[in-house]
Every structure is written in C-alpha cells, then in structure tokens.
C-alpha cells in the first residue's frame, strides 16, 4: 500500500485493437510521483495511442489505467483533465484563431467555475476569477518564455514557440502529471537545450512528466525511467543506462536510432 502512494500512474495490461491491428498489446509500466518517465519506440510503435488511452481520447479494449490509485480508463477526456492529467499533441493542436494568452486561459477551464449566468451578469466573483486567470496565465507564459508573445495569434508563432505554448496551456490546468508527445519535434539545437531545462523545471514543481520523444540524447539526459515499445509490445523497461545496454532495444532501433 505504501508503495502505491508513490506511484502517480500505473498502466496494467493495456491493450487496444483497431480492427485487426493490435496497436498496443498488454503494456505494463509504473510512473513514480515527481519523476520524468520516457516512453520511446520506433515510428508506429503505439506511443501516441498509449497517450490517447491515458488521456481519455481512446477507450482501451482491455487493461487498466490507474492514476493516483484511481481507475481512469474509458473516462472522457475532459474528466481526465480535471482529475489532473494534461497533455500536448504530436501534431500541434492549438486554438489557432485565439491569442497566445487566450490559449493558456482555456487551459484554466477545469480549475475555474464561473458559468453562463455569472458571465452574463459579470458578477464580482466572475470578474475576480477572470483577473486571477489572466495573472496566472501571464505567469505561466513568463515561465515558458513566451511573455512577450501574449497578444500574438497562436498561428503566428514559430514552430518551437507553438510547442512551448502547448506546454503552457497544459500547465494552466494545474496538472499532477503532464504528457508531452514529441515536444522537441521541429526544434533546433538551442531550443532543445532550453526544452530540456524546462522539462526539469516542470518536474521541480512536483509535476510528474511522461515524455514521448524521438531525440534520444534528450530522453537519455532527462528521464529517470524509460519504457520502450515496438509494434505495440513492451520490449524494454528500466533506467536510461539499462535501456542503452538492452539488446532487444538496440535491435528494434537497428543500431541506428540509439546513438547518444
């Protein structure tokens, strides 16, 4: 029991089928609270599909997802978010016609309460909440180094900035755990360095990080534990050092992808 208390996320025999394809096949892993956990594997391995099951986009065919001791598999995405899981997307999914600040403000949705009538009447409570939301979101944008872009349209940001905005928006929902799906994709070297620091800073805030990333240098540098999947199956599980020695993993990457 005392062990489970340190586990933020536990995935048990998680499986999903799309027609004949078993995209994720009986995968198990545990993510410790406050840790940075890497999920890697070749293209099409099933990483994003795993994220989609954890975050409530897909309902698994079988298996369990335990978040902070509670079963969450099959819950709708908006409920999963309010329980404390926020995510970013591999194919950037920003609200393009909203400003950078507004995007982050949407992220506060599950932590705020004012409904239709409070908004129409602009009650004092509603105005106070709005003010707090703006302040909180500006702080997050400063933290993510986007402070001076607050009034830009999201679609006018550079690729790297859009990825940082996705993280900002996710942070706005005060998550206990954040899922980052290839946050370094499309970033240049300097941006990747900065991202590495940011991921550490997020973990320092006590937020558990689950990271899907193809950049092996980044993954090996920043994670505490790694799970490797290939064709939907787990083929390796351990610390970055262990993973780099694992013959199955080296084989799956054909010796090419694991150069650190």
């Amino acid at each position: 029991m005392s062990e489970t208390n340190n586990v933020m996320l536990e995935v048990q025999d998680l499986t999903i089928r799309f027609g004949g394809l078993v995209a994720v096949n009986a995968v198990n892993f545990q993510v410790q609270k406050g840790s940075i956990f890497g999920l890697i594997g070749p293209n099409g391995a099933g990483k994003t599909t795993l994220f989609n099951m954890i975050s409530g986009v897909y309902k698994p065919t079988s298996g369990k997802v335990l978040f902070d001791g509670q079963e969450i598999q099959g819950k709708p995405a908006y409920k999963v978010n309010s329980l404390g899981i926020a995510r970013t997307y591999q194919n950037i999914n920003l609200f393009k016609k909203m400003t950078v600040l507004e995007n982050v403000m949407v992220g506060c949705h599950s932590r705020t309460h004012c409904g239709l009538f409070a908004s129409v009447l602009r009650t004092p409570a509603q105005r106070k909440e709005e003010k707090e939301v703006v302040e909180k979101c500006r702080d997050i944008l400063e933290f993510m180094d986007l402070g001076d872009k607050a009034d830009f349209l999201a679609s006018n940001l550079s690729y790297g900035e859009q990825r940082r905005l996705e993280i900002s928006r996710a942070l706005a929902s005060d998550p206990k755990m954040i899922l980052l799906d290839e946050p370094a994709a499309g970033m240049n070297g300097a941006e990747k360095e900065e991202l590495q620091r940011t991921i550490r800073k997020i973990a320092d805030k006590g937020i558990t990080v689950l990271l899907v990333e193809h950049d092996m240098k980044l993954v090996m540098n920043v994670t505490h534990q790694i799970c490797v999947i290939s064709f939907g199956k787990r083929i390796g599980y351990g610390t970055p050092e262990e993973i780099q020695q694992n013959p199955d993993v080296i084989e799956a990457y054909l010796g090419g992808g694991l150069d650190v």
């Binding site: 709708p76 999914n93 920003l94 992220g107 239709l116 908004s119 709005e130 830009f152 996710a170």
Partner: protein, 340 residues
C-alpha cells in the same frame, strides 16, 4: 487631486482613441434612428432591424463562435412567436411576460435539438437543423386547432408596459431597441468569459478543447440553447409588432435570411450581426418588387461573401482600417510579427 484629474483625462483620451470609431458609428446610428423614427414606415424597418439583430446575434454565438451550423432558426423563431401570441391572446397573459415564456419554450426546444445535434458535424448537422425547421413549419401549418393553420393568428395583443401601450412602430422601437442592446451586451459578456472561450475552443479544435477539460457536448448544447432563446425572443417580438402571424413567415427562407445576414455582416464579431441585419433588411425592402427572387438574391449574396469577403462586411472594414494604418506607419520601421 490635480494629478487625479490629469489621470482621468488621460484615461478618457485613451478610451476615445481606442473606441472612437465605435463611438462615432453609434452616434451616427442614433441620429439616423431619430430621423427614421419620424416616419411610420421607416420606424417599422428600424423595428425589424432590431428584431433580426437579436436572432442573428444568437445564431452568431452558435455558428460564429461555437462552429455549429443551423439552418433551422426559423423553427425557434416560430415557437417564440406562436407561444407568445397564443398565451397572450387566448389566456390573457400580459404580452411582456408571454414574450419571455415564448423565448424560454424555444430554449427548451433548442436543448432537445442540441442533444442529437451535439454529436453531429457539418452536413449532418445542417440536415438535422433543416429538418427541425421544416417540422415546426409543418406543425404550425397543419395543426389548425391550435395555430390557426395556414390562415394564422390575427388580433395578437399589443404590448403594454406599466399601462403604457406600445401600439405604434415608433413606440415599439424603444422595446426592441432596449432588448437588442441587452442581447448585444449579453453576447459581449459571454464571449469575454470562460464560457465564451470554451465556445471558441470547441469551434477551433474540439479535440484539444476536450483535452483541456471542456465538456464539448455541454457547451454545444449551451450554444444551441442561447441561439434558440434569442430566436424565440425575436419571434415573439415580431408577433406583437405585426400582430398577425401565419406559417408563411416561418419557412426555410426565414432561416436562410438569418444565415445570410450573419455571413454578410461577418461571423464572430460584435458589429457583424447588426450590420448584416440592417443591410439585408434595407436591401430586402428596396428590392420589394423582386420578392419572388428573394432566395436567389440571398444565394448570390452568400456567394459574394464566400468568394470576396470571407470575413463579411466587418472584415472589409477592418481590412480598410488596417490598410489606412499601414500607410500611416510606413515610416516606423522595426515592427515585427503580427500581434492580434
């Protein structure tokens, strides 16, 4: 003290600078309204503009902000009109009350429609809303015992407030104008709130909206309910203005007119629904002798909008404004990016 006055003056100047176009526009509109109110016919047109603006504003929250298309707004418009007409005429409910009961009943239907609608997108949603409008039309046309069938309802009571009877188009203007302003303020407050951000998020990316904790179906239903309330309110106000209703008013042409007004004025803007309602109302009046071609005219207008003015008339104005600004700023170098 002195400093305070200076500060207030500065604030005032800043406010003026930021909003001068809106202020000038509102002032011009007030003068125009005052002139028009002197003629009965022109007052009637003003009343129509206010009533249509209310309905179009609701449609904008649904379509412009939440991305849910509806070609069945005439159904809600009819429910508001018939409910208020019947309650006030047959049961003696004061019109000022029955108008709101009509709007609320339309809202109930909005919620009922929204449950299946929230699961549909694009053309399926269009079909569902067209079917809804058609169902309401068929009902009022054939259920003669209740609605008077094709011959409609005559002698709908006049609205009176505190014993003051709003019998003329001129006096009715004050009622519809005040309600229109309230509806516009409501819209402004909604779009600048958590609810409005949820609407826009649902429109922009329902997937990501759900990921950020937004119950997408709930907000789609809410938007439907709001648009139904506005259309129902407008319909009830129409009934007590003309004091005669018949199914002819509530055909799909009416739904198409609301959509044309919205697209022509510009979706997802504050002034778009007013401009669209005013322009199309005036245009329809001017082209009275081509009434048979009304649908054709709307279709042409929509095509013009789609191909030439994707952001409606409002978009054209802001483009002009931006162009004028750009000329003014040409000498200032170093302006990077495009904020806003």
């Amino acid at each position: 003290m002195n400093q305070n006055t200076v500060l207030t003056q500065q604030k005032g100047a800043a406010f003026w600078k930021k909003n001068r176009l809106s202020i000038i526009a509102i002032a011009v509109l007030c003068v125009a309204a005052a002139v028009m109110l002197r003629t009965r016919y022109l007052a009637m047109i003003l009343d129509f503009i206010c009533i249509y603006t209310i309905a179009v504003t609701g449609l904008d929250l649904l379509f412009g902000y939440t991305g849910q298309v509806s070609f069945g707004q005439a159904g809600f418009y009819a429910i508001g009109a018939y409910t208020s007409a019947l309650l006030s005429k047959n049961l003696g409910v004061p019109p000022i009350l029955s108008i709101f009961i009509g709007a609320l009943l339309a809202t109930v239907f909005g919620v009922i429609i929204a449950f299946p609608a929230s699961k549909l997108v694009k053309h399926f949603l269009s079909l569902l809303t067209i079917a809804f409008g058609l169902m309401v039309y068929t009902f009022v046309n054939s259920c003669s015992a209740l609605t008077g069938g094709p011959s409609g309802i005559t002698g709908i009571p006049k609205v009176s407030i505190f014993g003051l009877e709003l019998g003329s188009y001129q006096s009715y203007f004050w009622l519809v104008a005040i309600l229109m302003v309230l509806v516009l303020i409501t819209k402004k407050n909604i779009i600048n709130s958590r609810v409005g951000r949820a609407f826009i998020a649902v429109r922009e990316n329902p997937h990501a909206a759900a990921g950020m904790g937004i119950n997408v179906a709930k907000y789609k239903i809410m938007a439907f309910a709001i648009s139904a309330f506005a259309a129902g309110l407008a319909g009830a106000l129409y009934a007590h203005m003309i004091r005669f209703i018949s199914p002819d008013t509530f055909t799909k042409d009416q739904s198409n007119m609301f959509m044309t007004m919205l697209l022509f004025g510009g979706i997802a803007t504050m002034s778009g629904s007013v401009i669209g309602a005013a322009a199309i109302t005036v245009m329809t009046e001017l082209l009275q002798q081509f009434a048979a071609y009304q649908t054709l005219i709307y279709a042409v207008l929509i095509l013009i909008v789609l191909f030439l003015l994707p952001n409606g008339t409002v978009g054209l104005f802001s483009k002009l404004k931006a162009a004028v600004r750009k000329r003014g700023q040409k000498r200032k170098p170093g302006k990077e990016g495009t904020p806003q």
